[in-house]
Amino acid sequence: MSAILEATGILTSQSRLADKYLTFALGHESYGIPVLKVREIIRLLDITPIPQMPPYVRGVINLRGKVIPVIDLRAKFDLEKAERTEKTCIIVVRLTLLSGAMTQMGLVVDAVEEVVNIMAGDIEDTPSFGASVSTENILGMAKVKGVVKTLLDIDRIVSGQVVEQLSRGAVPASSRPSVAAMAS
């Protein structure tokens, strides 16, 4: 990942972080993820549940023939469960796992907001308190149109054994070399 950042030429943390972000709403808060991590946005499809999974894993969906796991960010962030609405969407992101493998994963969010270009000056460091998310998963805080949006490090949030297993179990073996190739 650091290799990617260096490759884009962003040196300072702020200037490194200045990019286009896709913002979405989760509860009353607004979050942002780098747009380059986003594969596509789809409406909420029928999710097939998978047994013996942590509560934040909702299950899997069939996205144009590909089975990808779906994670409920509300559950992940220990927010209370929300009803599914018309605005509830799944953001399909492409992740780099700890093992270095690339995988696609769906994130269930309350609503997708917009794609914004956030300048370096609008980004501040993560404060050391007050958030429901552990600070290591946060890239920084961005001020967009007077509203503070939390920029999430999506790779770190969606990680760990479960995801590994999921991506391994879910992603067909044939696709693994291509992910590895992209990562490289």
């Binding site: 286009k20 946005i41 997708v112 794609v115």
Partner: protein
């Protein structure tokens, strides 16, 4: 004795009867004794006198006979003798007549015995002289003479003696009758005198007693009449006053009745107006009801129209939802396009701008759709509200219709009641006119009563005078007459003076009552005084009365027990 209880007629009758009893008794006595006297007289006249006469004649015939016999004895001539014989026969027949007469008149046993004795002696005498006559013819005169002296003479004497005895008896009887008559006459005289005197004395005493009792009663009555006249006078004055008051009341009543009549007319017109108004109200209520019916129908139509609006609104909101959906999908597509453009880097810059525009459009259309949806839902809410309101209005209209029906009925009832009221007022009008008549007749009657009471008052004055006259007639003094008369006159004039100018105010009436009440109270309170005065007056005027002055006063007081009789007034 309860003489007081008898009427005057009875008392007088008692006197008359008593006197008649005495008179009758005397008459009966007289009748009896005079009858007795006249009987004795007639007995003497009819029986004793003819008897005596017959006896006289008989004596005379005896003497004749004796003379004839003597002649026969002395005369020889046969012719003379025959004549003498005839004469003697005549004498004998006459004596026989006399004897028969005496026999017929003889009544007492003693007389009859004497008569029988006479007849026997006569028989003896007759036989003797016939013997003598025969002796003269056959034996000669001397022998006859001897026989005459021996037999005939004693026989004749006996006969004569018997006759004398009878005469004496008859005389005795006559004398006795005379004595009886004389004694009866003296008894009659004495008794007539005695009974007459007793009758006069008793009659006079009773007359005195009755006169006293009658006088007493009449005095009492006269006194009472005097007091009654006084009372009547005061009552007449009261009646006059009250009749005046009644007349004034009647006139007031007449005025009130006139007012009542006019009020009734007003009322009648008001009731008529009420009736008309009620009829109009009835019509209006009917109109209201029909209008309410139309309103209710319109409201139903409006409800269906609202339902239609609701339906079309629901359809519109479905369409809006679809538009919103499309906008949302467009937004997502634009976002994906933006992501793709970002991934394309420099080459995707223009595409990113387009995607942004598309996304803006999508958002605007979503916003518009949302706004439209809000509007639609607002319209729906409003139409729902309208439906509810229209339902309320329908209910209100139903209420209004029901109320209008009630109003209709009530108005009809009011109209009927007004009609009945009008009839009632008509009846009241009739009654009032009758009352008016009655009041007028009352007024005239009251006036008549007033004049009658005045008349009564004057009559009372005359009555007083009469009572005084009566008192004078009875006792020779006037009983409380003049005084009362003056008093009554005075009072009456006061009452009359108080009234004519008065307007029938309560004050006037009160005054009149007070005037009337005060003298009555005086009378009540001064009973004792009045008594004393009466007594004084009586004692002062004593002179004419039959009885003594003091006694009279006492009697009067006794006779006029004022305290007893007046305590009731």
């Amino acid at each position: 004795m309860n003489m007081d209880k008898l009427t005057v007629g009875q008392k007088i009758m008692a006197i008359v009867l008593l006197l008649a009893f005495f008179l009758g008794f005397t008459v009966i006595l007289n009748f009896f004794f005079i009858g007795k006297i006249s009987g004795a007289y007639s007995r003497v006249l009819e029986s004793e006198v003819p008897k005596l006469a017959a006896m006289q004649s008989l004596t005379h015939q005896g003497a004749n006979m004796e003379r004839c016999l003597f002649n026969m004895l002395t005369i020889d001539n046969p012719a003379r003798l025959n004549a003498l014989a005839g004469k003697m026969a005549g004498i004998r027949s006459k004596a026989n007549e006399n004897l028969m007469e005496i026999e017929a008149l003889a009544r007492s046993e003693q007389e009859k015995n004497l008569f029988r004795k006479l007849m026997d002696s006569r028989q003896t005498y007759r036989a003797a002289y016939e013997r003598v006559a025969i002796m003269i013819r056959e034996k000669g005169r001397n022998e006859a003479m001897n026989h005459y002296g021996a037999v005939l003479r004693p026989a004749f004497d006996a006969y004569q003696a018997c006759l004398e005895e009878l005469v004496a008896q008859s005389q005795e009887q006559s004398k006795k009758q005379g004595a009886d008559a004389a004694s009866a006459g003296s008894i009659v005289r004495l008794m007539s005198l005695g009974f007459g005197f007793i009758g006069i004395v008793v009659g006079a005493g009773l007359a005195l007693f009755i006169r006293r009792s009658i006088t007493r009663s009449i005095s009492h009555i006269a006194e009472c009449l005097g007091v009654g006249a006084e009372q009547t006078a005061s009552a007449a004055a009261q009646v006059s006053a009250s009749s005046q008051a009644v007349a004034e009341g009647a006139s007031q009543q007449a005025a009130s009745l006139e007012e009542t009549s006019s009020s009734l007319e007003e009322m009648a017109s008001m009731v008529k107006r009420n009736m008309e108004n009620a009829g109009r109200a009835c019509d209006l209520a009917r109109d209201t009801r029909s209008a309410g019916d139309v309103g209710a129908r319109d409201m139903k139509e409006m409800g269906t129209a609202m339902d239609a609006i609701k339906q079309s609104s629901a359809e519109i909101s479905k369409i809006i939802k679809t538009i919103d959906e499309i906008a949302f999908q467009t937004n997502i597509l634009a976002l994906n396009a933006a992501v793709e453009a970002a991934r394309a880097g420099e080459a995707g810059m223009g595409f990113a701008v387009v995607a942004d525009e598309v996304r803006n459009l999508a958002q605007r259309s979503a916003l518009s759709a949302r706004e439209t949806a809000g509007k639609i839902s607002q319209a729906l809410d409003r139409s729902e509200n309208g439906v509810q309101i229209s339902q309320k209005v329908a209910r209100s209209l139903d209420d209004i219709i029901a109320k209008a029906r009630q109003v209709d009925e009530l108005a009809a009832e009011v109209a009927a009641a007004s009609r009945e009221q009008a009839q009632g007022i008509e009846q009241i009008n009739v009654a009032v006119s009758q009352m008016d008549k009655v009041t007028q007749s009352n007024a005239s009657n009251a006036e008549e009563t007033a004049s009658a009471s005045e008349e009564l008052n004057s009559q009372t004055v005359e009555f007083k005078a009469m009572v005084a006259e009566l008192g004078r007639l009875v006792n020779g003094i006037a009983i409380a007459g003049g005084n009362v008369k003056q008093e009554v006159k005075k009072r009456h004039s006061v009452v009359l003076a108080a009234h004519p100018k008065g307007n029938g105010s309560a004050q006037m009436k009160k005054n009149a009552e007070k005037l009337m009440a005060v003298p009555a109270g005086k009378n009540n309170g001064n009973n004792g005084n009045g008594n004393g005065k009466a007594a004084n007056r009586v004692s002062g005027a004593a002179g004419a009365p039959l009885i003594g002055t003091a006694e009279k006063a006492e009697k009067l007081e006794e006779a006029i027990p004022m305290t007893r009789d007046f305590s009731d007034f």
